[in-house]
Symmetry: C2
């Protein structure tokens, strides 16, 4: 991870996120809510200065609420709004902000209707769900959630259930923040996806790049086999941000070399390959051994892949390689299943059997056993066959079985992308 | 998410984790370091009471360091130990704890050797890397990291790079904590994996369960298609914990019904199926349409899967279904590719072609397009063929393409598991 950075930015609108719940503190789940909130706020021109995760202890919640309302433009709290004894958020808000609690009539009615529809009876726990600070405004209809102002700071309390939290954030919190803070920096971010260039080369190529001014951040981040260069622009207007981004992007592309750049933002290699195949009006097939379907899964994860993905052969056994792909038994005996000739025969066999224009093949040793001196764990042969030629590559990957399988599938995508790019 | 819980536990050894860095605050990455640290500490009998993420601002770091040393048994800090201007941790420690900084000779020598080996020259930035509080002890040899005591609280400062952090945590921090706090509760955790039972049924079955005492927590957590019931036991000794766990587990199993329980802890369905196939000395094959390789990938993710996984047919096109699996064209025309007869023909065809004892097939509409009134998006047919019979199931899944593909593959695993369990 590296950063090419420069100076100070204009006044930002910053807030704190408090996530309440034991699962994160116990390491049972990651704080994915925080990631969602942070990145969505950032895209709208807001920024978190702190993320605090605490348990369901009232004293702790009160302490954190008091501390962070005095140093934030806004406050977001998720979790602890349920109906059980463990959920202490409402009681803590009442004590921290000195507000009394009252039952929200609209929400109460709604819950009563639901309960009646299901033929259940009303309970003290449901009563607790409807309690909210007097000064608060209910947000969200079918779920917990409210907003109140404390010392002029808007404080949003959202449920911890991810889809409920996300809906309230997108539909209620962000629009309210946008209304409250109309003047704020415009952030624009672009990810440039780089293939086949190690991190150190990227660092070298970007090191001598001087940024025109302090509104631009350029950083690079390895993502498995891919490397990302991220451009973050902070500007006063959308137009200014777009112009700065376009200029920076062009400068990066000329330094990195366009032949290494496969796409931007969420243009995964699979999507780019799909577009390339559509443009050529080609269909593809795959033959996988050590990756066991991972390559095909990646390609078919893209909507509409059936337009260009014809079939795949998961030839885990030698028998399958012979019967499904007509790999000559002699080649298997002479060179072994993990070899360049067999990878080539697999790709060519897949292409022929599926009657398609292009086919990819993968054969290798994913481990944790099966390695030899000659072909250690991580040895992988890739082949890409078209009507005019078959290109074969040998790789040596490191790491767990999962990592080796993942890197193999990714490298096969890069091989196909390069083949289709010519 | 539900919890069946009871009372108070014995005195715990608790600490705070402070992670320093902007990527998490900007939502670019999730705080996976926190998840690793929390779960590893928990397994060793320690517990985090707070996780705080802040940026590289000195004032903020000082504030958090002072606050959390006064309320913790230990403190862990990750990140901000690099050599750039942005890395403010060391300077903050010096000011927060009132200790002066000095260059660590051992670490300096080591870095100098490295620099010499690479033919580079020494720099001010490298100098900065060697600076540490006078009262600190260097931990880790080839990387940043140190420990110091402040007000008798051990404070560990680790690099933010995950593999470096993990190595120091496992090899240095946890053993040191174990030495310092020999008397602490023993935690034991077990995940019970439940198949084919909705969350509400699990809640009902567990609701009437009274826990013998406050040393036991039982909670349930949906995990995609699977549901987990988690038992957490806190006891004074390992023996006591084991006995409590065994008893609770037996009670849960009798309430849930053993026929719904596929395994525990990291016994995924794929691993259980692997063991079942080995025991029967059976081999399997798969035929996938809408899942495009996802089922095969899951099965072959298990080390040694080549012992029982023979091959798979990713028959994305109708032509592939006819040519690879001998699905009768008439059936495709009469019932459509997404139908019970075609699923059955796919499974039986795969079994025959691969000459194996059991084969699974999946055909469905993963979306986002391709749905009809008759067969809306999410309609999926599964089939499992053995020598004696073929079982076919129809499902209707909801969500994105990715979710539908994932649920289809998971449901196929459940079908195979049930078939092999008879």
């Amino acid at each position: 991870l590296g950063t090419v950075r420069a100076g100070q930015k204009q006044r930002e609108v910053t807030g704190a996120l408090i996530t309440i719940g034991d699962e994160i503190l116990l390491g049972e789940i990651s704080n994915e809510n925080a990631t969602y909130i942070a990145s969505n706020l950032r895209n709208k021109g807001f920024r978190l200065h702190s993320i605090i995760t605490i348990g369901d202890q009232e004293g702790e919640i009160i302490d954190v609420l008091c501390r962070y309302t005095s140093r934030s433009d806004f406050l977001l709290v998720t979790g602890g709004l349920g109906s059980t004894e463990d959920d202490r958020t409402i009681a803590s808000v009442s004590r921290a902000f000195g507000v009394s609690l009252t039952s929200n009539n609209d929400y109460r009615k709604r819950l009563q209707e639901e309960v009646a529809q299901r033929g259940l009876s009303w309970s003290a726990e449901l009563d607790k769900l409807t309690m909210m600070p007097e000064t608060s405004i209910k947000i969200g209809r079918g779920m917990a959630g409210f907003m109140l102002e404390h010392k002029n700071i808007p404080c949003y309390f959202l449920p911890g259930v991810p889809w409920e939290m996300q809906q309230l954030l997108d539909e209620q919190v962000v629009p309210d923040l946008e209304r409250r803070f109309p003047i704020r920096p415009v952030y624009v971010k672009q990810i440039i996806r780089i293939q086949g260039l190690p991190e150190s080369s990227i660092a070298n190529r970007l090191q001598q790049m001087d940024l025109p001014d302090d509104r631009i951040d350029v950083s690079y981040l390895p993502q498995g086999n891919e490397n990302w260069v991220t451009v973050l622009v902070t500007a006063a207007t959308k137009g200014e941000a777009a112009a700065l981004l376009a200029d920076t992007r062009a400068r990066i592309m000329s330094r990195i070399g366009p032949e290494h750049i496969s796409g931007q933002d969420d243009d995964t290699l699979e999507k780019v390959i799909g577009r390339q195949l559509r443009e050529k009006n080609w269909k593809m097939a795959a033959a996988e051994s050590c990756t066991g379907g991972r390559l095909s899964m990646k390609i078919t994860a893209v909507p509409g892949a059936s337009d260009y993905f014809e079939r795949a052969f998961i030839t885990y056994s030698n028998g399958a390689k012979v019967e499904m792909l007509e790999v000559p038994e002699m080649k298997l005996q002479e060179f072994g299943a993990v070899s360049a000739p067999v990878a080539q025969a697999m790709a060519e066999g897949a292409r022929k059997q599926a009657k398609v224009q292009v086919a990819l093949a993968i054969t290798g040793v994913a481990g944790p056993s099966g390695g030899t001196l000659d072909k250690p764990i991580g040895t992988v042969f890739l082949a890409c066959a078209t009507g005019s030629s078959t290109r074969v590559e040998k790789h040596l990957f490191h790491g767990t079985r999962d990592l080796i399988q993942e890197q193999s599938a990714q490298a096969a995508l890069v091989l196909l992308w390069r083949t289709l790019s010519r």
